[in-house]
Amino acid sequence: MLVAIETTLIYTFLLGSLYLLVSLGFSLICGVLRIFHLGYAYIFTATIYFTWMFMSLFGWGLIPSIAAMLVIQAGIAIAIYKGLIVRYIKREEIIILGLLFVAIILEQSALRFYPIQAGVYLETTMVPGLSKIGQVTVSNQLIFAAILGIVVTGLFVLFFLKTKLGLAVRAISYDIYSSRLMGIQVERVFMFIMVLVLIPVILATLAIAPIWAVEPSMGWGYMIIAILVSVLGGLGNIRGTIIASYIIGFCNSVVGFVIAQPLYMGLSALIVVLIMLIVRPQGIAKSETVW
Amino acid sequence: MAEILKVTNISKHFGGLTAVNDVSFSINEGETVGLMGPNGAGKTTLVNMICGSYGADSGKIEFMGKDITKLPPWKRCKLGICRTYQIPRPFPELTALASVVVSALHGKDRPNRSLEDASTEATHYLEFVGLFSKRNILARDLTLFEMRGLELARALATEPKLIFIDEVMAGLNPVEAEKAVRLIERAKDQFGVTVLWIEHVMAVLMRAAERVIVLHYGEKIAEGSPQEVANNPLVIESYLGKSENA
């Protein structure tokens, strides 16, 4: 019994913080840009495979590869924004389909050039080894990833509450037209957001790459989590996303580690979200704004 | 005259804001009743509740002796209540004719009505409001006055017994306003509907309404003939405010 409680608590914390890192970007894009970035999955795949490409093709070290990957990802994000989102802002279904296509193209390219047998592996373990907390053994890297999640989220919250740019983002999420009238350069802020949300995802992917499987289609599983967390928490609302991440983390840790049926995790999370939608369709958040 | 609508103690709260507070009134068949009040008094909320778009938090609504408080909006429409909208809400992608056809098909319980029959009926209503020549134009391409006429045609096509007309004068120039008032008078004559008319423009209500109800901050503050209401100090205060040296 005690073990079960300990396991639940620890994994709720770990998984919840991780899911937070994964979902923060998706929720932000939904809330601020008001589009569903259904191509979100590509960021995960791109992180791993572009880094690997630089390492294997040019023989660079880990750090320079990561730096190069960051530059490319920023470029892709801006290209997506300018080429797809700005042009078709009135036609949402085109944006959604286009983003999905981008994700599929990247996934298929990765699959083609670096199939699973290629042995893609990124040595990004920051804290090796295992720890024992109470009766539960967890990987140190996972703890590191969770703490990273909390720190990054904290930084994001500080950014949105205390800085001028953060204030602009919050204003846009309330009302785009008034923000424009107040002199906020909405397009620039959007571009900034598109690049900003890459950071938590890249950090999350790099942190858990050594402990969880790496394959071209890994993005979709994380995107499903991001979608579920965002829908549960209220799209675009950081407070709601935080609460929702831990709820889903709790749900998954109970199902995955206590009841020990890890295959049911996705399904159980969906059921939780569906119930929430019936009871309170707008999610946990009080409003459709960033904070 | 029979009483067709009886509203008893209905209220509506939106969070902490009380939009409508314990309002009761009744409407008799064949009347034209005006509903007045400054902006934000709760007129549209009241109408929304009677038509079914919002549920009433408390109170009872009876129509033709039947309790309709819990019925969904489409059932209320089939019983004979319909409304127009303050800001016209046409079906943007449908033509004027198609909009009225939808009402003609669904407003009254006539399940065997075919598309052709409904179209014929719809053209009669369009002709009544004077939009027959514009029947194949997309509803969103009409002028404001025409859109209001379309709203009226759409409401009339459901063969209602009670119509709520929501601020039809807003945005119309005097010529159009005159046409609108006469149109509604003709509708009353020809189709025998009872009208609850929400309006700001006093002159219209003076002329057209037999009875006027005034709301202020969600409460009924006056009820009576237009003359009585116009001279009621509470009503004047709600519109103009208290005099400085009262």
């Binding site: 569903f36 042009r87 949402e92 279904e93 085109i94 959604i96 389909l97 999905l100 296509f101 981008v102 994700a103 599929i104 193209i105 298929q108 699959l111 083609r112 979709w220 499903i224 979608i227 579920l228 829908v231 799209l235 295959l263 049911y264 996705g266 399904l267 969906l270 979200v273 569906l274 939608l277 369709p281 | 038509c51 079914g52 778009s53 969904p72 909006p73 489409w74 429409c77 089939k78 409304r83 809400r89 079906f91 992608e93 449908l94 033509t95 198609a98 909009s99 056809v101 939808v102 009402s103 098909l105 669904h106 407003g107 009505r113 075919s114 598309l115 409904a118 997309l138 409401a155 459901t158």
Partner: protein, 345 residues
């Protein structure tokens, strides 16, 4: 002697005389012409290049999925991003019943249709309670979660490899003759769907659905039972798509969720819809043939690169022709007033 082709007539000048022949729209607007083309085409292909019949079947099936999808989108007023869920339902129902109980295809057809209706009914409240974008997200997730379920119960669904050994619909001994018969069955199914949905779109239900699509609240206020319309226009297309899943199962003799449930298949279906013009059901046929043949050409010419190139080309098409081929037609002709699809927040 000189033949001049003008926009709506042919002019023939010979020896000082002039003959004009007007081409009336009713000559080429006759659906019989196109149906005949669609019927004769498989026969021609059978004699010329039989293996192309597989592509023809693919095209018919893609169109047969896209056509009910149009009905679902217009009737519920929202875009279902996971229609392939019902392919999975119908396909697995047919496959499981055929393999474990030995039911013949006619019975599995009924079962697949029933499965489609049941699951359509279970999922239909989504169209009422979930608003536009939430609805799109959840419908997007459903097939992916169904895929997860097939992996969870992999002894039943055989996970990755899928079920095989499903009784074929036709077996005449000749592979190409089989294909020809399958082609005709798929064509019949698609034309049947086309006929039904066309009739619905010309009936009073179409105006009702268009009204709901445009403004639900107002439609509710003028007496349209919005919820009933949404549920019915959810369940019927679900059943139709499930039947397509049944066809896939019996046609290939094997059925794996991995082929149909992930997003790549969904995008194919959506491109079929997009190319044809989003709610133009006749356009779906053109879209279906276009996509099926495009994929076939890509696989034959580029082989291994085709999974990468196919989405690239589709993305390019999406950006260049947002209204699909119908958009090109629309640019040159007056606006036609038909119920169209809208998104809502």
């Amino acid at each position: 002697m000189e033949l001049e082709v003008k926009r709506d007539r042919l002019v023939l000048r010979a020896g000082g005389g002039k003959w004009e022949w007007h081409i009336e729209p009713r000559y080429w607007r006759n659906p019989l012409i196109y149906v005949s083309i669609l019927i004769i085409a498989p026969v021609v292909v059978y004699f010329v290049y039989p293996s192309l019949l597989a592509t023809v079947i693919d095209a018919n099936l893609l169109a047969a999925i896209a056509i009910p999808l149009a009905l679902m989108s217009i009737g519920t007023g929202r875009m279902n991003f996971g229609p392939q869920f019902y392919i999975g339902i119908g396909g697995y129902a047919a496959a499981l019943l055929s393999i474990h109980f030995g039911l013949n295809p006619a019975l599995t057809l009924i079962a697949a249709a029933l499965a489609g209706i049941v699951f359509g009914f279970i999922m239909s409240p989504l169209s009422i309670i979930a608003g536009g974008l939430y609805y799109s997200l959840l419908t997007l997730l459903l097939p992916l979660l169904f895929l997860e379920v097939t992996f969870i119960f992999s002894d039943l669904f055989k996970g990755d490899t899928g079920l095989s050994g499903i009784a074929p619909l036709v077996s005449t001994g000749s592979f190409s003759l089989n294909l020809l018969i399958y082609a005709f069955i798929s064509l019949a199914m698609m034309l049947f769907y086309l006929f039904i949905i066309d009739k619905i779109f010309r009936s009073r239900y179409a105006v009702q659905m268009a009204a709901i699509n445009d403004d639900e609240e107002v439609a509710n206020g003028i007496g349209v039972n919005v919820n009933k319309t949404k549920i019915i226009s959810f369940i019927i297309p679900a059943m139709m798509v499930a039947i397509v899943g049944w066809f896939y199962a019996h046609y290939y003799g094997a059925f794996s969720g991995q082929t149909y449930l992930p997003l790549s298949f969904m995008l194919k279906v959506f491109m079929v819809t997009m190319i044809g013009g989003r709610t133009q059901i006749y356009g779906c046929i053109i879209g279906g043939y276009f996509i099926a043949f495009l994929e076939m050409i890509l696989i034959r010419t580029t082989g291994g690169m085709s999974p990468v190139l196919f989405p690239v080309i589709l993305l390019a098409l999406l950006l260049v022709l947002p209204e699909g081929l119908f958009g090109l037609y629309r640019k040159h002709h007056y606006r036609e007033y038909m119920p169209t699809l809208r998104f809502r927040r």
